[in-house]
Amino acid sequence: MANSILLTILEVILMPLVAFIVGLFMVLMMRKLAAKLQRRVGPPLFQPLYDIVKLYGKQTQISHGLIHDIGIIMAVGGYVAAEALLPVPGMDGIAAKGGLVTLAYLMMVPSLGLALGVGQCANPNGSIGISRALTAMLAYDIPFIIVIFGVAYHFGSTNLVSIIATQQAEGIAGWGISEMPILAIAGLFALHASLGKQPFEIYIAPAEIATGPMVEMGGKFLGGLFVMQTFQLYTASVLYVSLFLGGGENWVTFLIKCFAVLAIPVLIAYLFPRYRTEDLIRLVWKWPVMLALLGVAFVMN
C-alpha cells in the first residue's frame, strides 16, 4: 500500500518532466517543419530551451499584479497536473484515478489561468484575444467531447489505462483508428483547432490585436506561456495516440506515433491562412461535429 503510493508519487513527478522534454522537441519539430516549408535552415537543437532560459532570465519583467502572476502559474501548473493523467509506456500515474472526462476538464484549468492573467493586464487587445480563445474552445471542444463519448462508449470505460490496454491486446486491428476511423478524423480536426495554430490562430492575430493574450506578456510571463505550449503540444498528441493509436507499447513506437500525429496539423498550419472567429465556429461545428456524430452512430450500432 505505502509502496504503491510512493511509486505513484514518483510517477507523478516523472511524467511531467518527460512531457516537458518531449514537448521541447515537439516545438523544435514544429519550427523545423515550418523552416523546411519556407526554405529556411531552421533553429538548432537546443533553441527551444535557450528561448525559455532567456525569457526567464530577462532583466525587464513587467507584472500587472498578483493575478497576472497567478494566471501564469495556473497555466503551467494545470498542464503539469494534466500530464499525470496521461499514461505513457511504463507509467500510468493517476490515470486510473481520473479518467478521460477528468482529463478533458483538467485541460481547461490552464486556459482559465491564462484568461485570468490576461484579464488582470487591463489591455483590451488581451481581453479580445481571450474572448476569441474561449469562443474557439467552445467551438472545438464540442467535436472533441463527442469523440471522447464515442471512444469511451466503444471501450465501455472512461479509464484511459484500460482503453489503451484493450487496444494493445488486439494489435493494430483493435486500435481506435481501425475500429472508429470516422471518429479518428473528427478527433484530428478538433485536435488541430485546439492547438490554436494556423488557420485557427485568430486569437493571437498579431496584425489586428497585437498578439492578443500575449500583448502584455514579456520575460518569464511569456516564458511561462512557452512552457505551456510545450505541454500543450505533448498533451494533445499523446491523448490522440492513446485514444486512436493504441497508446505506447514502448517508448520508441510511442514517440514516433506522437510526433507523426503532431506533424499533420503542423504541416497544415504552415500551408494555410487564418480563419475569422465566426468562420472558425462555422467550420468546426459543421464538419468535425458531423463526422463525430456519424462516428458515434457507427460505434453505437
Binding site: 526567464y56 519583467q61 493575478i67 501548473g77 476538464y105 484549468v109 481571450i130 511561462g224 472558425l280
Partner: protein, 623 residues
C-alpha cells in the same frame, strides 16, 4: 416530542421573532442565531444522513377524513440541510454592515430576515410532508413565501413577482388536477396507496399524471418553456435574498418531482411508455426537456450584462443537470443529480453574495460599469473565483464532481446527444462566468472606484465559509456522497458505492483527493518555475500597450461590452425571443378567455351564477 417537532418549533419561533422585532436594529443577528439553532437541531438529526430511521412529527391532523402527517427521511434531511445552510449564509451576510446600509437606503432588513425565515419554515414543512395533501399544502406555502421575498424590493420587482405568481398558480392548478385524479384512483392521499396502485395504472393515466405533475412542479424549477419568470424575479431581490432564492428555492420543484414522479409513479413505467412516431420514451422526453433547460438558459445567461441576472439564468440551467442525472436511473446519474443540488447551492450562494458585496461598494451590478476591482476587493474576488470554477464544473471544486457523475452515467448508459447537450451547457457556462469575473474584477479599475475597500468581516466570513465548503466537498466528495447515498436509498434507487475521494469502478473511477493533490502539486511546480525567474516589477494599470498612445485615467480601456462578438455574430440570431412570443400569446389567450367569462357573468344573470356556485360548494362540503 421528536427532534422534528423541535426543528419546526425553532423555525416557527424564528418567523415569529423576526416578524415581531421589525424595528430592532440587531434583528439580523437574532435571525442568524436562530437559524444556527435550526442547523444544529438538524445536525442532531444527522443519523438520517447516514441511513438512520425515519423521524416522525408527533403532531398531525386530518381534513375531511384525510390524515395529514409530517416526517423526515434521508432525502428530506439532505434538502433541509441545504435550505437552512443557504438561509444561514444569507441571513448572516445581511445581519451586519449590509443590513445597516440597507436600512439607511430606506430598506427594512427586518422584513428581509422575516421573509427568509418564513421561506425556511415553509420549505421545512414541504420537505417533511408525509402524504400528497401535506405536500400540496407545503407547496403552496413555499410558493407564496417566495413571492414575499421576491417583491420586497418594490418597483419592478413587484411586476416580476406578479408574473411569477401567475406561473406558480398555473402550476398549482396542474398539481391540484393531478391530485384529484389520484384521489379518484386511490381514494386517499397517502404515498403508499399511490405507490401500490401505480404499477396497475394504464398508459393514459400514467402519461396524464406525469405531465400534470411535471408541468406543475417543473414551473418552479424554471424548466423550458416556463423559464421566463425566474431570472427576473430572483435577480431583483435584495442581495442576500437572491443568494437564498438562487441556492435553494427552485430546488423545491425538483424535490416534488423526485417524490411524486420518480419515487411514487416510478421511472421504470415512464421508460416503458413509447411516444408514437418517435424514438423517444416518455422518460427521454423529460430528459430532453432537462437538456434544453440546460442549454438555452445558459446561453441566455451568456448575453446578460447584469451580474445578478447572469447568475440567475445559470441557476435555471444548472437545474437541468440535476434533473437529467436523476432521470438516468443508474446510481451514478442519480447521485450526481442529488449531489449537484448541494453543490449548486454552495457555489451559487457564494457567487450571489460576492456580487452583493460588489453592489454594496459600487452600487451597481452592471457588467459594463465595473472592472479592476480585484486590487480593491481581493477576498470577494477569491470567493467569486472559487464560485465560478464550481459553477463551470472544473476541478478542483465540487461542481465538477457532480457533473462528472452525470456525464459518466450518460456515457456508460449510451446517451450521446444528451451527453453532448450537457457538455455544451458547461462550455457555455465557462464563457459566461469568465465574462462575469473579467468585467467585474479584472481589467481597468475605473476612476470612481479608486477609493473602494474590501467589504467588512460580517460579509466576508459567510462568503469565505461557503467557498471553503465548495472546495472541501470538491476535495473530499465522499462527505456529501454519504448523505446522497442515504437519500438514494430513501428514494428506492440503487445506492452509489463511493469512497472519500469519489468512486471506484472498473468502468472509470474518480479519486478527487489524488486529482486535487496533483493539481496543487502542479501549481507548486508552476510557482517554483515562475519565481525562479528574474523578479518582476509591478506597474500601474495605465502603464500599458496602447498602440503608441499614452493612456490616461479618463480613457476607458476595458473591453466589456458584447464580450463574445465573434460568437454572437454566429448565434446572435438564435435569440429571437420565440419564448417571449409564446408567453405573450398565452397571456392574450388567457385574458380573452377571462374577458369572455366576465362578459358572460356581467351581462347575463349574475345572481343565478352566484347561486349555482354556492349550491355546488355546499354540495361539495356536505354531500
Amino acid at each position: 416530542m421528536s427532534m422534528l417537532d423541535t426543528l419546526l418549533l425553532i423555525s416557527l419561533l424564528t418567523v415569529l421573532l423576526t416578524g415581531l422585532g421589525q424595528r430592532v436594529t440587531f434583528i439580523g443577528w437574532i435571525a442568524t442565531l436562530l437559524l444556527t439553532a435550526q442547523l444544529l437541531t438538524l445536525l442532531l438529526m444527522g443519523k438520517l444522513g447516514y441511513g438512520g430511521e425515519i423521524i416522525d412529527a408527533s403532531f398531525g391532523f386530518s381534513i375531511l377524513g384525510q390524515p395529514l402527517n409530517w416526517r423526515y427521511d434521508a432525502l428530506s434531511w439532505f434538502f433541509a440541510l441545504i435550505t437552512i445552510g443557504s438561509a444561514l449564509a444569507g441571513s448572516a451576510f445581511a445581519a451586519g454592515a449590509w443590513g445597516d446600509q440597507y436600512r439607511k437606503e430606506g430598506g427594512n432588513p427586518g422584513l428581509l430576515q422575516f421573509s427568509i425565515a418564513l421561506n425556511v419554515l415553509a420549505m421545512l414543512l414541504l420537505l417533511g410532508s408525509g402524504d400528497l395533501l401535506s405536500l400540496f399544502i407545503g407547496w403552496e406555502l413555499v410558493s407564496w413565501a417566495s413571492l414575499l421575498l421576491m417583491v420586497i424590493a418594490g418597483g419592478r420587482a413587484s411586476e416580476f413577482g406578479m408574473r411569477y405568481i401567475v406561473y406558480a398558480t398555473a402550476g398549482a392548478m396542474a398539481v391540484l388536477a393531478g391530485l384529484a385524479i389520484i384521489f379518484q384512483l386511490t381514494g386517499s392521499f397517502a404515498y403508499d396507496d399511490l405507490a401500490a396502485v401505480a404499477p396497475a395504472l394504464n398508459t393514459l393515466q400514467i402519461v396524464t399524471l406525469t405531465l400534470l405533475f411535471f408541468f406543475g412542479f417543473g414551473i418552479k424549477m424554471g424548466l423550458l418553456p416556463f423559464h421566463l419568470w425566474q431570472a427576473d424575479a430572483y435577480a431583483e431581490t435584495p442581495g442576500p435574498g437572491t443568494a437564498f432564492l438562487g441556492a435553494i428555492s427552485s430546488r423545491m420543484g425538483l424535490y416534488a418531482i423526485l417524490v411524486v414522479i420518480i419515487q411514487l409513479i416510478g421511472l421504470v413505467r415512464l421508460i416503458e411508455i413509447e411516444i408514437p412516431y418517435s424514438f423517444l420514451s416518455l422518460r427521454d422526453l423529460l430528459m430532453w426537456v432537462a437538456a434544453i433547460s440546460i442549454i438555452i438558459p445558459t446561453f441566455i445567461a451568456l448575453r446578460q450584462s447584469d451580474a445578478r441576472r447572469l447568475l440567475a439564468w445559470h441557476g435555471i440551467g444548472q437545474g437541468g443537470y440535476m434533473l437529467i442525472g436523476l432521470l438516468v436511473l443508474d446510481p451514478y446519474g442519480s447521485a450526481g443529480g442529488l449531489m449537484h443540488v448541494f453543490n449548486h447551492a454552495t457555489y451559487q450562494a457564494a457567487l450571489f453574495l460576492s456580487v452583493s458585496a460588489v453592489i454594496y461598494r459600487t452600487r451597481t451590478s452592471d457588467l459594463n460599469r465595473l472592472g479592476g476591482l480585484v486590487t480593491r476587493m481581493p477576498l470577494s474576488f477569491l470567493v467569486m473565483l472559487i464560485g465560478i470554477i464550481g459553477l463551470a464544473g472544473i476541478p478542483p471544486m465540487n461542481g465538477f464532481v457532480s457533473k462528472w457523475l452525470v456525464y459518466r452515467s450518460l456515457i456508460i448508459e449510451g446517451m450521446p446527444l444528451l451527453f453532448v447537450a450537457s457538455v455544451i451547457g458547461t462550455l457555455g457556462t465557462i464563457l459566461s462566468v469568465y465574462k462575469l469575473i473579467h468585467n467585474t474584477f479584472l481589467g481597468q479599475l475605473r476612476l470612481e472606484h479608486e477609493h473602494i475597500r474590501e467589504v467588512p468581516l460580517s460579509m466576508t466570513i459567510p462568503m469565505l465559509v461557503l467557498s471553503a465548503i465548495v472546495f472541501i466537498t470538491g476535495f473530499m466528495p465522499g462527505l456529501v456522497l454519504d448523505w446522497v447515498g442515504s437519500a438514494q436509498v430513501a428514494l428506492g434507487m440503487p445506492q452509489l458505492a463511493h469512497t472519500l475521494g469519489g468512486v471506484e469502478s472498473t468502468q472509470g473511477s474518480l479519486d478527487m483527493i489524488w486529482v486535487c493533490s496533483v493539481l496543487f502539486g502542479g501549481f507548486a511546480v508552476g510557482a517554483l518555475l515562475f519565481y525562479s525567474g528574474n523578479k518582476a516589477k509591478r506597474v500601474h494599470q495605465l502603464d500599458n500597450y496602447a498602440g503608441g498612445h499614452f493612456l490616461t485615467a479618463d480613457v476607458r480601456y476595458h473591453y466589456s461590452d458584447n464580450f463574445y462578438a465573434g460568437l454572437m455574430h454566429h448565434i446572435g440570431s438564435w435569440y429571437r425571443g420565440s419564448f417571449l412570443w409564446l408567453e405573450s400569446s398565452l397571456i392574450s389567450v388567457v385574458s380573452s378567455l377571462s374577458g369572455g367569462a366576465q362578459l358572460l357573468y356581467n351581462s347575463f344573470h349574475p345572481a343565478l351564477y352566484l347561486l349555482m356556485a354556492i349550491t355546488l360548494s355546499l354540495y361539495f362540503f356536505i354531500g
